[in-house]
Amino acid sequence: MPLRKPYAALSLALSLLAPRGAALAQVASQVEAGASLTTRDAVVPASVFTVTPGLSYSGEYGSVSARGAMWYADQQWQLADGALHGTLVSPTIYGVRAELLGNASRAFYDRELQNDQVDLQTRIHLLLKEKGGIWIGGGLARPWRVAVASSVDVRGGGAWTTLYGATVSGNFTNFYFTKVAQSTDTAESAQFCGASTAIAPANLARIASFSREAPRTDCHRQSQFSDLEASVHYAVKFLEITAQSGMRFGSAFDVGVSSRHWAAGTATAWLNDRVAAIAGGGRQPSNPARGLPARNYFSLGMMLAYWPIPKGTVPVEPITASVRSFDAHALKSGDVRITLRVGGVERVELMGDFTDWSALVMTRRGRDLWEITVPMNLGVHQINVRLDDGPWLPPPGMPTRKDGFNGEVGMLVVNP
C-alpha cells in the first residue's frame, strides 16, 4: 500500500539529462519543501520542515521514479522517507494491458518507528472505451524491521472513470500476512496469544532482529484486512485538487478503531508554469503490515518543478502520443477556447485554417495544461499542433485528413 506523503513542498529546479533517442520519454524533476504537522494518538504533535527532491522517467514501456525526504526536527536533519518505483507496461491489445510494478520504500515516522519494504505486483488493465477502465492484480510485499513474519500477500482490483472532467477511481485491496502479535497489544491479542502456541524457535532470532527487545509473550497470527478507497482528481485551469476517502474492514485484532475510516485531500495551485503552492491534510490510516500507526497531518508548502526536454533527440514514436487530451469549447463571445494536456514539452504551437495557418503559441497553465483562445466560426476546421518545434501533427481525438504535404491535419468540429 503506497504511503501518502504527509507533507507538501517548496522546491527548486534540477537539471537532468535524458537518454538519447527517447523523445517520447519524459523526464521530470522537482524539489519540494514545506512544513508539516502530524499528530498521533497518545503522542505529542510533531512539526517538521521537509525538503524532498524527486525525479521520474516515463517511457513507452515503463517508468522509474525516485524521491527522498529530509526532515528537519529536533535541531538536526534526518534522512526520512524514500521510495523507488518502477513499472513495466505491455502494449495495449484490444484494450487489455499488463503491468509489472515494483517498489522499494522506507517509511520514517520517528527514530523509533521506521522500516523498509520491497513489493512486487502485477496488474491487468481493461480499458473501457476512453473514459474508464478496470484492473485486477496481486503481488507480494516484504517489510523489514517490523514484526511481520511472512511476506504480505496483496490482492485487489479497481475501476476508474472520468466524470465532468474529474477522474474518479475506486480500489479494493486485501492484505494477508502473518503477524507477530504481542499479548500486550490489545485485549484480543492477550486472549489470542494466551491460547496460541509459542513462537517457533527459528523465528525468535528473526523477531529479535525486528525489534531491539524481543517480547517474550509473542505469538503468530494470520492477519487480514481490506481497504476500500475512493479518490477524485480534478484539474481545472491552474488548480489541481485530489481528495480520497477510505474504509477498512477486518477483525478488531487487525484493524483499530482509529483506522476504520479516513479521508485526506491536497490542493495544488500553479502560480506559473514552474511554481505551485500546495496545501494538504487529513487522516492517514495505520499500516499494520509495516507497524505504522494512524496519524493526522496538515502540510503547507511550495513546489518548483522542471521538465527539461533534451535537444537533438530523435523521436522513436509519433509525439502526438504524449498529447493526452484535446478540448475545444465555444465561448459566448464567439471565440473558442482550446486546451490540451501534454507533459514534458517547453513550447506548444497551434495553427489552422482559422489562423490563416499562422502559428500561435499556446500558454501553459500549470503542470501540463496548455491553453489558447482564438476566434473561430462554428463548423469544421482544419487544425495542427506542434510540440517543441517538431512536426505539425493533428491533435488527438478527432478525424484527420492527409494535408498533401506529407502530413495530416485534424478535422475539428466546433458546435455551439
Binding site: 484494450g95 472505451k129 490563416d356 481525438g397 478525424p399 504535404f405
Partner: protein, 215 residues
C-alpha cells in the same frame, strides 16, 4: 448628420474588415515565387468565375507556405483541391455550403467516388459535412473504401446525427489503435447502432469474418 455618418460607418465596417482580411491573405502569397503565385492566382480566378469558394484554395496555399512545402507542390495541391471542389459541387449541387464542399473534396481525394457523394445528398437535405469528414478519415486509416462508404451511407440513411458519426469514429479509432483490423473495427462498431447498421457481411467489400476454431 452625425447619426447618418455613424450608421454608414457601421454598415461599411464589416465589408472593410473583410477586404482587409482578404488583402492580408493575398499578401501572404508574396511568399511564393512569382511563377507559383501567378499559377495560384489563376486557379483562384477560375474558382471565382465558376462560383466556387476560394477560401479552401487560399487556405491550402497558406497551409503549404506555413509548412514550408515546395512551391510547385503547393500549386499542385491547390489545383487538386480546385478540381475536387468542382467535382464535389457537381455531386452535391449548387446549394452546397463551403464546409460541405470542402468535406466532399476531402472525401473525393481519399477515394470516395462522386456517385457516392450524390447518394449522400439525395438521401438527406441536412449537412453532409461531418459524415464525409468521418468517411474520409476511415478510408485514410485503412478501412476499405466500399466498406467505409456503404457503412456510413447506411447510417446516414438511417438518420444518424453528427454526434453518432463522431462517436462511431472514436470507437473505430480506439479499436484500430488497440490492434483491430480497420474494416472489422468499423463493422463491429457500426453494430452498436442496431437499427442503422447494415447487416453483417452483406455490405459490398465487407471483409471476411474471422475463422473461429475450437479450443
Amino acid at each position: 448628420m452625425l447619426g447618418a455618418l455613424l450608421v454608414t460607418l457601421w454598415a461599411a465596417a464589416p465589408a472593410a474588415a473583410q477586404d482587409y482580411e482578404s488583402l492580408n491573405r493575398t499578401d501572404q502569397l508574396a511568399r511564393l515565387d512569382p511563377g507559383s503565385r501567378s499559377a495560384i492566382e489563376s486557379i483562384l480566378d477560375s474558382a471565382r468565375a465558376s462560383g466556387l469558394p476560394t477560401e479552401p484554395l487560399l487556405s491550402k496555399t497558406l497551409e503549404g507556405i506555413s509548412k514550408r512545402a515546395d512551391n510547385r507542390r503547393i500549386v499542385s495541391k491547390v489545383r487538386e483541391v480546385y478540381v475536387a471542389l468542382r467535382e464535389a459541387r457537381l455531386a452535391l449541387g449548387a446549394n452546397a455550403s463551403k464546409d460541405e464542399l470542402s468535406a466532399a473534396a476531402g472525401a473525393l481525394q481519399a477515394g470516395v467516388p462522386a456517385t457516392m457523394l450524390a447518394r449522400f445528398r439525395s438521401a438527406h437535405a441536412k449537412s453532409v459535412t461531418v459524415p464525409l469528414v468521418v468517411l474520409a478519415d476511415l478510408i485514410t486509416r485503412g478501412v476499405p473504401r466500399d466498406t467505409a462508404s456503404n457503412t456510413i451511407m447506411q447510417l446516414w440513411q438511417g438518420g444518424a446525427a453528427d454526434g453518432d458519426f463522431l462517436g462511431l469514429w472514436r470507437g473505430v479509432e480506439r479499436d484500430i489503435v488497440s490492434g483491430a483490423p480497420p474494416a472489422m473495427a468499423l463493422m463491429q462498431r457500426a453494430r452498436e447502432y442496431p437499427l442503422r447498421a447494415p447487416p453483417a457481411g452483406r455490405a459490398p467489400g465487407n471483409p471476411p469474418q474471422p475463422e473461429t476454431t475450437s479450443p
